[in-house]
């Protein structure tokens, strides 16, 4: 009975934040600016925190109950409609229900979403409420924030692709609102529109895919029916591949993959908690979640019939991984580096999922489970690390901003606005912050290591799995060499740009006066950073608990003894029995641990100011970078001035291309159409109108009023009548 009890409350997980949305908005409108509202309620932040806390508690209860078995609950029937079979004349009812479905995928993403939403909420209270630019409008932020969380939690819990789509769109709306939070800035307004429209293009394909799927599965989109092996077997796999392919385009848009990736970097216009929330922890994972959800189709369909789609998914991943990493090389904006890094890491997961789907569709169940587990584990690790990285970067930017404000307006309160063009987000203005911001520096240190895949930390465990899975597919299917090669190269590139980012920000001498005066002083902000640092470091615990196995195969995934688990994982990675995988592992480690960071150190390394000392766990890295930097004579100026660097600065011209296509072709055509509509279509009507008026004027002119004319006409008329009669006779 306890099972049914807790799952009945699961609906509250998304419902509570959704109901908090109007409450916060309304209270904010009512009490805006009053001391209690600002100080005690943090302009709604406390309400949001309470609700998200409640959601998190419920989530943990649900997870505790459903760690090892699937649960589902029906909530209500959304609507019913009918289908007519033209041949037989039979009419069947199609039910569109609302319900909850919980399996291992749900559990994992639910935890990620609820936990990170809560963390980011804590961070937001520190970040948003201490910046005067946000005064008196934070309630809007928190309201949109909780609505967004509701969308993410709802999407994960939904029991059908239809409701997945509905919450998916709700998140799209919220990301539009949150990115455009500073609506008065044209850049933010533009970025919000761009994000919505780009993802909307994907969403259109997603809904068409859903329509096709609904038709294939006899009017069902609920997981219980479509994942049934017998039902999958009954479907034509060619049609299924098309439908899933259309749905995948939606995932590409949401997860910012090539070629619908252009919105993500611009979306950094939103406040930093938004970036952490949308662009690292939750929304971008929606696309991955959708693809991961397709797994049963691949394992259930005819052998090899869906391979093409799996290969496409992996290739999109591979291309994006390298493209985004390349662009990240030249970014100077701290948040934009993280944005491109997000794209690149999500691409890894797509490649991993592609491998898993390929294995599943070709009958390699164990390998499929392994690849699936690795991909989802990487999703988990990436979400934790990237959420933390964004928050730490937010902390840096926040304190930079404050320091700048203190220096620029010292004793001069009249100037509230920053008139000069100081960019608090540019890494060119930072440097040497390791000693001044120890918590943020530590968080970013371990976060970056997790993303790079430094052995034993966070993302390492999962990234190795993805790379080895991709290569194992490549051994069987040569086309897979492309994504496999690309993500291997990407591993080294990740090592470079993440190290570059950390070194430019925290190592070396401060590059500006502002950077010298930065202090970590804002309350609330350090809490999530510290918690998440430990989360990231503890990934080996999860690895030891066979998280990968559990995620990959819900039914047989098991918990071994803890130390034994760690041991077998370590052995699996470092002393693999398969020589090919062994070599591959060391190549990947070499690229990501040695090659990438070395280049970064040679270019951007340096010691701190005299007298400044970082925490011991970072000091060695700074010292090392200083040594590498001074001993190497590596000069990259030729490279920095090359046309490739120029193209990378321009984001490989994709944005320009899309803008031109939109403005020149679509809007141009629309303008011509508007003219055509008034001139031609309405012109015809106007012509009829004027012609009839003209005709009536002419006819009217016959009425001269002169008796002579009338007699004449009467005579003519009589004549005509006579002639007619005569003719008829």
């Amino acid at each position: 009975m306890s099972e049914s009890a807790i799952i009945d409350y699961a609906v509250l997980i998304p419902l509570l934040p959704m109901l908090a949305f109007p409450v916060i908005l309304f209270l904010g409108k009512l009490f805006n600016g009053t001391p209690t509202w600002v100080k005690n309620a943090k302009e709604g932040g406390i309400i949001a925190l309470t609700v998200m806390g409640a959601s998190l508690v419920l989530t943990l209860l649900v997870i505790k109950e459903h760690m090892n078995h699937v649960g589902s609950a029906n909530i209500f029937t959304w609507f019913e409609s009918s289908w007519w079979n033209a041949e037989t004349g039979a009419i069947t009812t199609k039910v569109f229900g609302v319900g909850i479905h919980i399996d291992h995928l749900t559990v994992m993403l639910l935890f990620v979403a609820a936990f990170l939403c809560f963390m980011i909420n804590i961070f937001s209270i520190g970040y948003m409420n201490t910046d005067s630019i946000n005064d008196n409008r934070n309630h809007r932020f928190y309201a949109e924030f909780v609505l967004f969380c509701s969308g993410m939690l709802g999407m994960v819990l939904a029991d059908s692709f239809l409701w997945l789509f509905i919450f998916w769109e709700l998140m799209g709306l919220c990301s539009y609102l949150l990115i455009g939070f500073y609506w008065e800035r044209p850049s933010a307004s533009y970025a919000a529109k761009k994000a919505f429209l780009t993802t909307r293009v994907g969403d259109v394909f997603l809904i068409i895919g859903l329509v096709m799927l609904w038709n294939l599965f006899d009017g069902h989109l609920d997981y219980a029916y479509v994942f049934d092996k017998a039902n999958i077997a009954a479907v034509d796999s060619g049609d299924l591949q098309l439908a899933l392919g259309m749905m995948f385009i939606g995932a590409v848009g949401k997860s910012a993959q090539f070629p619908l990736h252009v919105w993500l970097p611009d979306a950094m216009e939103g406040p930093t908690p938004v970036s952490a929330l949308i662009h690292a922890a939750t929304m971008v994972n929606a696309g991955l979640y959708l693809v991961a959800r397709m797994f049963p189709f691949f394992s259930g369909a005819e052998l090899g019939s869906l391979s093409t789609l799996a290969i496409i998914i992996a290739c999109i991943g591979g291309i994006t991984a390298v493209m985004a990493a390349l662009i990240a090389f030249v970014q100077m904006d701290l948040k934009k580096v993280l944005a491109y890094s997000t794209m690149s890491q999500l691409a890894y997961i797509f490649t991993g999922l592609g491998s898993a789907l390929w294995f599943a569709n070709n009958g390699y169940e164990e390998l499929a489970a392994f690849a699936m587990g690795a991909s989802l584990f990487h999703l988990f690790n990436h979400a934790m690390a990237k959420g933390m990285l964004f928050m730490a970067s937010g902390s840096v930017i926040h304190e930079m901003h404050h320091a700048h404000h203190d220096i620029a307006h010292h004793g001069d309160d009249d100037h509230e606005h920053d008139d000069d063009n100081f960019d608090a987000q540019s890494m060119e203005n930072m440097g040497g912050l390791a000693s001044r911001m120890p918590i943020a520096a530590t968080a970013m240190f371990f976060g970056s290591m997790s993303i790079i895949g430094i052995p034993l930390i966070g993302g390492f465990w999962s990234k190795e799995g993805i790379i080895s899975s991709a290569w194992q597919v490549a051994l069987k299917e040569p086309i897979f060499l492309l994504p496999a090669m690309l993500i291997l190269i990407g591993a080294g590139m990740t090592g470079f740009y993440m190290s570059r980012m950390w070194l430019m920000t925290f190592a070396g001498k401060p590059k500006t006066e502002v950077a010298k005066n930065v202090h970590e002083q804002t309350a609330w902000i350090p809490i999530p950073l510290v918690i998440l640092t430990f989360m990231t470091l503890s990934a080996f615990i999860l690895a030891g608990m066979h998280a990968g196995n559990w995620l990959g195969n819900f039914e047989t995934g098991h918990y071994s003894s803890f130390l034994g688990g760690v041991g077998s994982e370590l052995k699996h990675v470092f002393l693999n029995d398969d020589p090919f995988l062994l070599v591959l592992t060391y190549i990947a480690i070499g690229l990501s641990l040695i090659l990438g960071p070395s280049f970064a150190m040679a270019l951007y390394g340096g010691s701190l100011d005299k007298g400044q000392k970082a925490k011991p766990w970072m000091q060695w890295a700074i010292n090392l970078s200083d040594k590498v930097n001074s001993s190497s004579k590596f000069d990259n100026s030729a490279w920095a001035n090359s046309s490739l660097a120029e193209a990378l600065h321009k984001r490989l011209y994709f944005d320009d291309l899309y803008d031109a296509a939109m403005l020149k072709i679509v809007v141009g055509f629309a303008n011509i159409s508007a003219i055509f509509d008034t001139k031609v279509i309405d012109g015809v009507i106007k012509t009829i109108e004027t012609t009839s008026q003209e005709a009536s004027r002419r006819v009217r002119s016959l009425t001269t009023g002169s008796a002579r004319d009338y007699i004449m006409m009467a005579a003519l008329g009589t004549l005509v009548i006579f002639m007619l009669l005569w003719g008829v006779a």
């Binding site: 029937t77 959304w78 609507f79 019913e80 409609s81 009918s82 289908w83 007519w84 033209a86 004349g89 009419i91 199609k94 239809l162 789509f165 509905i166 919450f167 769109e169 709700l170 709306l173 539009y176 455009g180 609506w183 008065e184 800035r185 044209p186 933010a188 307004s189 533009y190 919000a192 529109k193 919505f196 429209l197 909307r200 293009v201 969403d203 259109v204 394909f205 809904i207 068409i208 329509v211 096709m212 609904w214 038709n215 606005h417 939109m662 679509v666 809007v667 055509f669 629309a670 303008n671 011509i672 159409s673 508007a674 003219i675 509509d677 008034t678 279509i681 309405d682 009507i685 109108e689």
Partner: protein
């Protein structure tokens, strides 16, 4: 300013008494002695009250008119709430138990009174799953429109005209007699014509004439079709048949005759005649809908019409076209429907795509919204062409959802025009600074119109797509393309009005430097009501869809299962 209180209260009191009598007197008995909840309370009452008020107001001098406008407004609002209360009560079975699970050609609360016996005309009214949602929508929109345009000038005649509009529209929806149907069909033109002519914008004279003549010409073709149908039908005997002509205008009789005849391989009136008559009727309905290329009266009418006129025009009047299609030609000429199926689909698709593309090229806010209506009405045609109950239910739900969303779109446009004296997109930046409420409503309405899930419009679009794919396959990419274009023009217009503008904002030039005001309380309330109902029907679509689905199933069982 002295209101002749006594005189006014006398007349007002008299009106209330008349109203009460008319609304609640167990009206005209016939053989079936149940109360007639349709004829007087829903149709007669608003029209008669508005005629009395108009007659009353027309006797007054200009200055007195301004004074009596205030009580007339209040009175009209109260009067319009009575039909709303009745139709809501009918839905929830508060008045009498109504069985909405109707078979084909069965009607709830049906009433018939013989009228012109020589040619077989009767006052025949009834409700079913097709008409009731539209009736409720009309009764709902009239008070909301009155509230949202609380400060319209010349209120003494304006508000009664809105009320009359509502009564005439309900008449169209409840009529079960072709003659009656046509009378109400044309009656709706009169209040709308005067609303545009008197309260319209700069080119109101041209717009009013164009609106009237264009739709009237189309209606005349429809009338010709109806009369031809009348004379071609087989003669019969019975109370509904004319004593002189031997034929009937009664829809229910026609439907059952046609359905009975269409069984097997027979075709009622013959295939060619079906095709011709179907085309004639459809022409009248397509112009009203409006579908491309017969749509050009709509932008003119909307741009010139006052806010209240636009709200009712877009909200209910356009749906008369869709309602007419679903009610008459499809039931009588199912073979012709199959014959024209692809044509209807093509017209729908063209309306959908062309409307959306032209929207993107507009610089006038209200014109953009008007074209978006053209685009959305195309969806209804797609639903009809899909030949699936889910498509028909979708068409119905689209009519209903668009009937709530589009008045909100026009209310936003109206408030914009009212306060900022301009309709140009881009005439101001940073509206959110001065007018947070209008910005929120604008964003809400725009999002609802572009089909955001959990708002009413999404369900209809989803259902149409579901019905469309099996029949027309990859053509579905075009509606998909429109979904993206729709988002583009709405977001584009929001970016250039609500957002941007920097820390200072950029007020419209037409205000000559004054600070732009926020919307008034009444506008706020009106839009809030519409927004709340958009959410209700988006989250709980089954409230309205249950009835629509039953109607669609009954139609398919009754009309198509026999002959095709």
């Amino acid at each position: 300013m002295d209101i002749k209180n006594k005189e006014f209260m006398l007349i007002g009191g008299l009106l209330v008494v008349v109203a009460g009598l008319m609304a609640f007197f167990p009206s005209l008995n016939d053989s079936n002695s149940t109360v007639d909840w349709i004829s007087i309370p829903l149709v007669g009452f608003p029209i008669v009250i508005s005629v009395i008020l108009l007659a009353f107001a027309s006797q007054e001098t200009r200055s007195r008119k301004d004074i009596i406008a205030v009580p007339i407004r209040l009175f009209t609002l109260c009067a319009s709430l009575i039909p709303l209360a009745i139709s809501t009560a009918l839905f929830f079975d508060w008045l009498i138990l109504v069985d909405w699970n109707l078979a084909y050609n069965d009607y709830a609360l049906e009433k018939e009174y013989l009228w012109i016996e020589s040619i077989g005309v009767s006052w025949h009214v009834g409700l079913d799953g097709l008409s009731f949602p539209m009736v409720w929508l009309t009764t709902f929109l009239v008070p909301v429109t009155i509230i949202a345009t609380w400060n319209e000038k010349d209120g003494a005649t304006y508000y009664p005209l809105l009320l009359m509009m509502g009564g005439a529209l309900i008449g169209v929806f409840v009529a079960l007699d072709l003659f009656l149907f046509y009378i109400f069909w044309e009656l709706t033109l009169i209040p709308m014509f005067f609303l545009i002519l008197k309260w319209g914008g700069k080119d109101r004279r041209y717009a009013a004439q164009k609106f009237f003549i264009y739709t009237f010409c189309a209606s005349v073709i429809m009338l010709l079709g109806l009369i031809t149908l009348y004379f071609l039908q087989p003669e019969g005997s019975g109370s509904q048949y004319g004593t002189v002509t031997g034929r009937t205008f009664d829809m229910t009789v026609l439907f059952s005759n046609a359905t009975a005849f269409n069984m097997g391989d027979n075709v009622f009136l013959g295939k060619d005649m079906q095709n011709v008559l179907f085309a004639m009727l459809m022409l009248g309905f397509l112009v009203k809908l409006p579908a491309v290329p017969f749509h050009t009266w709509l932008p003119d009418a909307h741009v010139q019409a006052p806010t209240g006129g636009s709200m009712l025009l877009a909200g209910v009047m356009l749906k008369m076209g869709a309602y007419g299609m679903l009610r008459i030609p499809i039931a009588i000429f199912p073979d012709a429907l199959l014959y024209y199926q692809d044509v209807i689909m093509a017209i729908g698709l063209i309306s959908l795509v062309w409307g959306a593309v032209v929207c993107l090229g507009q610089t006038n806010l209200k014109k953009m919204v008007a074209y978006s209506s053209v685009s959305h009405m195309g969806v209804i045609l797609l639903g009809i062409a899909s030949m699936q109950p889910i498509g028909y239910a979708a068409a119905l739900f689209m009519m209903f959802a668009h009937g709530i969303i589009s008045p909100m779109l026009f209310a936003v446009c109206g408030a914009f025009k009212h306060h900022y004296h301009s309709m140009e997109i881009g005439s101001m930046r940073g509206m959110a600074r001065w007018s947070p409420y209008l910005s929120v409503y604008m964003m809400f309405a725009w999002m609802a119109s572009l089909g955001l899930p959990l708002l009413a419009g999404f369900v209809a679009e989803l259902m149409v797509l579901l019905a469309y794919w099996p029949t027309y396959g990859w053509w579905i990419l075009l509606p998909g393309f429109v979904l993206a274009i729709t988002a583009a023009y709405y977001l584009w217009s929001m970016q250039r009005t609500i957002f941007e503008g920097g820390d200072e904002g950029q007020p419209p030039e037409s205000l000559n430097g004054e600070t732009p005001p926020d919307i008034t309380l009444s506008e706020n309330i009106g839009m809030l009501i519409l927004a709340i109902f958009t959410v209700i029907f988006g989250v709980f679509p089954f409230i309205a869809l249950g009835m629509m689905d039953q109607w669609a199933v009954a139609l398919f069982e009754g009309v198509f299962n026999g002959g095709i």
